[in-house]
Amino acid sequence: MKVSLPAWSDKFSAENLSLVSDGLPEGPITREWAWGNTSGRGIRVGILDSGIDGHHPAVGKEISGWASFYLDRASGEVVRSMEVHDDSFGHGTACADVVRRLAPEADLVSIKVLGSNLRGRAVEFLAGLDWAIQEGLDVINLSLGTTNSDYYAKFHRLTEEAYFRGICIVTAVNNMPIVSYPSMYSSAFSVACVPDREGYDPFEFYYSSSPPPEFGASGVGIDLAWAGGNTLSVTGNSFAAPHIAGLLARIRSKHRDLTPFQLKTVLRATALNTSGAEL
């Protein structure tokens, strides 16, 4: 009688096991290896936020895609529009600016889930994230979260799905000791801002072995593009997240096949607080 194996075990059966050859190098992972000589070309980064001001000079190359999500209270349905939209608050434009600094040639997609609709927030956010994942965007930057525990399961499912599909979800942690999804999920790249340091280097980031958050990046007193055409000097965890998103876009444009797991490994190896990190 043939004994059937439990599902998944097949991968580890004797005939299927072989020496791992994924995208990671055999030697040490260096910054040069990770993102030297790249610009993010061909990688699609979703900015899930308040929209992007497409007219702002700092945003540079044209925005590749627009999608906005709005809860229509009359019908109770979330409506999606693919029309060009504006940036309600200014924040999305700032995040786009950061990603551009790190990955000037990446394709930016603006996913607007923030506007003047407070009550529909969580469902709009969910719909936007779902769309971004179905679209297969490579990196999605969320500088916001929901504290609503009713949505825990839904966001968790989406974030897990993204992870297994090779999509990087980068989130900003909430600075208060409160629960905020999806930054509390292990599958996300959770980021906090590094407290005041001398000078500003967009490539400065750190790794923490006791997440969340898993990474720390610049987020204090940075001059960023703001909707309306000007720049604002801003501080917050929500500006640290796009630094990691931009970096991921850069790395992915050079190493197409890396999974989120491997990308976390690369980030860990190239963080400034990892001994032996070669700059």
């Binding site: 709005y70 009359a74 309600s88 200014g90 003047s116 204090v220």
Partner: protein
């Protein structure tokens, strides 16, 4: 006694109790002091009208801000209210739309704003904003941390205020009715009772509530009319709010 209590309960629901006002003020004052800011404003979110309403203001341009209502879709406070993420801005006048929408309503022009969310039980209920540090420095990550602590306290105080408001009304009314029973009260409660006896607004509010109570007690027809009227008004209000906020 019981009808008095129920009248008082009605009054408590209708009139803003503001029991924890003192506590809330202390919290906001502390936040301002610890960080060394020129001004502090506590906003509450009004979900029905999608607005930020000023609950408390210290320093800055107090008088102007007191009755301010901001649409939630703009500016620093708006973003903080929508996302629950804390945010600090150095040169807020550079935000042209903020300057037009909100800044235009004030004579005092802040340069730096720090906004921190008030979160309680999964819900973002308000924003605590601090303005311009006295020493001219920027708001640091430490400042964000400190102010966040006060925001949590404020959120709790607000929650207590809501539940306490109605109860306090009931209890105040009970106080008035206790007569000899008062002798057993603590000094603090006695002071409260004395203060209320001489507060004309308190008596006026209780009187309105009593009249409402009498109507409801007059008979089933009266009660029904009153209920239907109020429900219709509420429904109308909700519909007109939604119509206004459609894009």
């Amino acid at each position: 006694m019981l009808s008095l209590l129920s009248d008082a309960a009605i009054a408590g629901k209708v009139f803003d109790g503001g029991t924890h006002k003192e506590l809330l003020e202390e919290i906001v004052l502390m936040a301002r002091r610890v960080v060394g800011a020129c001004g502090a404003t506590l906003f509450l979110i009004d979900l029905e009208t999608e607005e930020l309403v000023v609950e408390l203001v210290h320093g800055g341009s107090e008088k102007e801000l007191e009755n301010l209502r901001l649409p939630v879709g703009r500016g620093i406070a708006g973003y903080v209210a929508a996302t629950g993420q804390a945010l600090a801005v150095e040169n807020v006048q550079n935000d042209v739309r903020w300057a037009q929408d909100v800044g235009a309503k004030m004579t005092y022009r802040p340069d730096r704003i720090l906004g921190v969310p008030l979160i309680r039980d999964d819900e973002i209920i308000g924003v605590l904003e601090l303005i311009d540090k006295e020493d001219g420095a920027s708001f640091s990550v430490d400042d964000i941390d400190s102010v966040s602590r006060f925001a949590i306290m404020a959120a709790i105080a607000l929650e207590q205020s809501k539940t306490a408001s109605t109860l306090t009304w009931v209890l105040r009314a009970a106080l008035a009715d206790l007569g000899d029973g008062r002798k057993t009260l603590s000094k603090v409660s006695l002071d409260q009772a004395k203060r209320l006896e001489h507060d004309p607004e308190h008596h006026q509010q209780l009187a309105v509530a009593a009249r409402l109570g009498r109507i409801l007690r007059a008979g089933p027809a009266e009660r029904r009319l009153c209920l239907e009227l109020v429900e219709s008004l509420l429904a109308f209000r909700q519909v007109s709010t939604e119509e206004q906020s459609d894009p």
